[in-house]
């Protein structure tokens, strides 16, 4: 039966080529845009080089001090001391990665200016993140303790600073007016990775800003790695207990909060949430609403076209009804035809989005951003395809099933 429907669907599509073109154009470009958008969101949210253990990590990116009576507040990144001494005292986590937020400085080589984004890290940082070392290895705990001026650099920085040469291990690199010895070269990290992007990694002990400061605020972020996904709730509970005991240290403020969230919640809490609400639900609702509104216009357009086409086939429908076909059979057939149409449109849309992603990667708008269509994105788009087909087919099908047989056979 389905094979027949398929044949009829193709025949109908071939009959009115212009309408088919309009429908396929609308569906394929809409799906292409949705798929590229999903690829972007997937890139930002999912685990990506070098942050590969996201499902069992909690991220700490800001601390907020508040004066509940007067209403003023201060919010900033954390100091090394807070992370190391308070978060470091927890028993449940396997590791705690501490790193400063990447900051820009300059270096001048052969009268050429290079902007260097540098980051100070502790030793556990290299165990939590999974960097790909093209040369050498990270600095050891001993090197950090001795405040040795050693550095790990990115591929891009190596090319910009040393040019296209062989190994640069052991060579000197000067940045921020300080000389460092290169002991490792890693593959490039995309700028979208908040907690891991930099092109120069240094031990925190060589930081010019004293890391020994006992302030609560500073310039560092932390990543708590649990032993397994199941351990996360236990780690969160111990964490919350510890936070309650952190002394504020100044009379100016009377309330403190510092959240340790999964990656997405950590992103959304800053812009859309607050102390009590991660803001994830809000962001998902906003994106969902935007996607829905975006899909609304092509859907209505498609519905309109479908109704037009049904009216065209009114004599065929009238004949079949006169011969005894039930309304539900006709509705079923029509919806299948519509889904076939949207699937063809979906395949074209898929090809278009592969092309679009290739162009976006090649244009290098955001450096080192490599979008890709993985199975998850494909799965989502397939679901959207079916959903689209159903949505735009139901109303016209219902209209068609109500066609009066006599007037359908008589009219022209």
């Amino acid at each position: 039966m389905l094979k027949n429907y398929f044949k009829i669907a193709i025949a109908v599509l071939k009959r009115r080529k212009f309408f088919t073109f309009i429908s396929l154009f609308g569906i394929s470009v809409t799906l292409c845009i949705l798929m590229v958008g999903t690829a972007f969101i997937d890139k930002i949210v999912s685990a990506d080089y070098p942050d590969m253990k996201r499902e069992r990590s909690l991220y700490i990116n800001s601390i907020e001090l508040r004066n509940m009576k007067e209403g003023w507040m201060n919010k900033s990144l954390l100091s090394f001391h807070t992370l190391n001494d308070f978060m470091g005292s927890l028993k449940t986590p396997e590791k705690l990665a501490i790193s400063s937020q990447s900051t820009a400085t300059n270096t001048y080589v052969n009268n050429k200016k290079i902007v260097v984004d540098y980051k100070y890290t502790n030793y556990a940082y290299w165990e939590v993140m999974e960097y790909k070392f093209l040369e050498g290895k990270p600095y050891t705990a001993k090197q950090i303790e001795e405040a040795q001026h050693v550095a790990v650099i990115s591929e891009d920085l190596k090319k910009a600073y040393f040019g296209d040469t062989g190994s640069v291990l052991g060579r000197d690199l000067e940045a921020d007016n300080v000389r460092y010895k290169v002991i490792g070269v890693v593959a490039n990290v995309s700028k979208t990775l908040l907690y891991s992007y930099a092109n120069l990694y240094l031990p925190y002990t060589v930081s010019k800003v004293s890391w020994k400061s006992s302030d609560l605020m500073g310039g560092y972020t932390g990543v708590l790695l649990a032993k397994s996904v199941q351990d996360l709730p236990k780690m969160q509970a111990e964490y919350q207990q510890m936070v309650r005991k952190i002394p504020i240290g100044t009379k100016e403020f009377d309330h403190l909060y510092v959240a340790a969230d999964p990656y997405l919640a950590g992103l959304t809490r800053n812009g859309f949430g607050n102390e009590h609400d991660t803001g994830v639900a809000k962001v998902i609702a906003i994106i969902g609403a935007l996607a829905f509104i975006f899909m609304l216009l092509p859907t209505i357009s498609l519905v309109n076209i479908n109704i037009t086409r049904i009216m065209e086939r009114s004599s065929e429908i009238g004949v079949r009804k006169a011969f005894g076909a039930s309304s539900s059979t006709l509705v079923y057939q029509f919806i299948i035809e519509n889904i076939i149409l949207t699937c063809i449109g979906g395949i074209i849309g898929l090809l278009l989005s592969v092309l679009a992603i290739y162009i976006i990667n090649a244009a290098d708008v955001i450096s080192n951003l490599n979008l890709s269509l993985n199975l998850k994105v494909l799965g989502y788009s397939f679901v959207v395809c079916i959903f689209f087909g159903l949505l735009s087919g139901v109303y016209p099908a219902w209209r068609m099933s109500r066609l009066n047989v006599v007037s359908a056979l008589k009219a022209q």
């Binding site: 300059n106 001048y108 800003v209 216009l297």
Partner: protein, 397 residues
């Protein structure tokens, strides 16, 4: 004629419902896009208010351990003299971090005798700031060496926007204002008015601002030096400059950027999302236009009998096609009336604190745009209708 058209359309209102909703949603989408475009364009047309070319910024932190303001003053004055001694450096100014294109804002509330104004940008700058950025003085005079005015108040300069908000057309020179909570001791006196500066890039307008001279106790918070350099300042000079500053402040992280580049980044961040939005909206509208075209074309083929009859009685091809076009425009008008009802809420409610004129322009542009689309879409079907031969049309049945 129009009553007749209205009747025809009203009879088929159910059929035309989808058509109407398509036009309505397209109008809302176009309205949003045009609101952005008009807003950015209006801001773009305003003058920059200062010159950013050949101006560099040195950012530093954590430079001196001492908290003594005398030591700090000596140190920073010394550094300023060394910078000015370099042949490629023309002007040097210290300031707080809220310089142009820096995405750093510091606002405060100010009071006059009877009114209060909030979210006024508070700029703490050197007296050479005006020369570095070539700011335009409109009234009175700029900050000078004097720490207090003749009346014993702290001198401030306000920008044009703030002056019009606070004093309207009257001259503000000599008037007093107070800073946040403080009163008598911290009375400030307006000594001049400068032109608005677009701190957030080409596409955002200026905001209320007030300029005060940095005093010696402020040196602790200063982390930005702005320099106007000569035309021959190149990368070699920049590297020399970097070394000199870094060797003077050994414990600081130093970064040198050019204001021209910062402006480009800021503009790009604003414009790229708008371009993406326009591409997506363009695609949506193209989709709708194609759909409309198809639907109209189909409805003509259904009305062949009616059209053939009219032509047989003597209607000219032109009147047939114009009736068709008018019908579509009429339908579009119905949808646009509903759309305008929603759109007009934006200027009435002053959504996002944007000027009403932006929304009104956007409404007018969107209405014209929709009419244009509908007109173009019904042009070809209209011509098709006019080409129907009455004999052939009446013969089929």
């Amino acid at each position: 004629m129009y009553k007749h058209l209205f009747k025809l359309i009203w009879n088929k209102k159910k059929q035309n419902f989808l058509f109407l909703s398509e036009i309505l949603i397209s109008f809302l989408v176009i309205f949003i896009v045009f609101s952005f475009v008009v807003f950015y364009y209006q801001n773009y047309k305003q003058p920059m208010g200062f010159k950013y070319d050949k101006v560099w910024r040195i950012s530093y932190n954590n430079s001196q351990k001492t908290k003594s303001s005398d030591t700090l003053t000596l140190f920073y004055e010394g550094l300023k003299r060394s910078l000015q001694a370099m042949p490629q450096v023309k002007e040097v100014s210290y300031s707080g971090g809220n310089v142009p294109f820096a995405d750093s804002h510091s606002t405060t509330n100010i009071k006059t005798k009877d009114k209060e104004f909030d979210r006024v940008n508070n700029y703490n700058v050197d007296i050479s700031h005006k020369q570095v950025f070539q700011m335009q003085l409109l009234e009175g005079k700029w900050l000078g060496k004097a720490d207090r005015t003749d009346k014993g108040a702290i001198p401030v300069v306000i920008n044009k926007r703030l002056k019009e908000k606070m004093y309207g057309a009257k001259s503000p020179v000599g008037k007093n204002l107070w800073y946040g909570e403080d009163d008598k001791k911290n009375t400030r006196e307006v000594i001049g008015v400068v032109a608005d500066m677009k701190y957030d890039g080409d596409y955002y307008g200026g905001a209320d601002g007030m300029y005060s001279k940095i005093d010696t106790s402020f040196y602790r918070w200063v982390g930005t030096i702005s320099l106007r350099v000569s035309d021959d300042a190149d990368a070699a000079f920049e590297s020399k400059l970097y070394k000199m500053v870094a060797n003077t402040m050994k414990d600081s992280n130093i970064e040198i950027t050019h204001y021209a580049q910062m402006r480009e980044s800021k503009n790009a961040i604003t414009i790229i999302p708008l371009i993406i939005l326009m591409i997506i909206a363009g695609f949506l509208i193209f989709n709708v236009a194609l759909g409309l075209f198809g639907v109209l074309w189909y409805s003509i083929s259904k009305r062949r009998g009616e059209i053939g009859l009219r032509m047989a009685i003597g209607a000219s091809g032109k009147s047939i096609s114009s009736q068709l076009i008018l019908e579509s425009m009429f339908l579009a008008t119905l949808a646009l009336i509903v759309g305008c009802f929603f759109a007009v809420q934006f200027p009435l409610l002053k959504v996002y604190d944007v000027q009403a004129s932006v929304y009104l322009y956007a409404i007018v542009l969107s209405v014209l745009f929709i009419y244009l689309i509908v007109f173009l879409c019904s042009l070809y079907p209209g011509k098709q209708a006019a080409a129907i031969m009455p004999a052939v049309a009446l013969h089929e049945e």
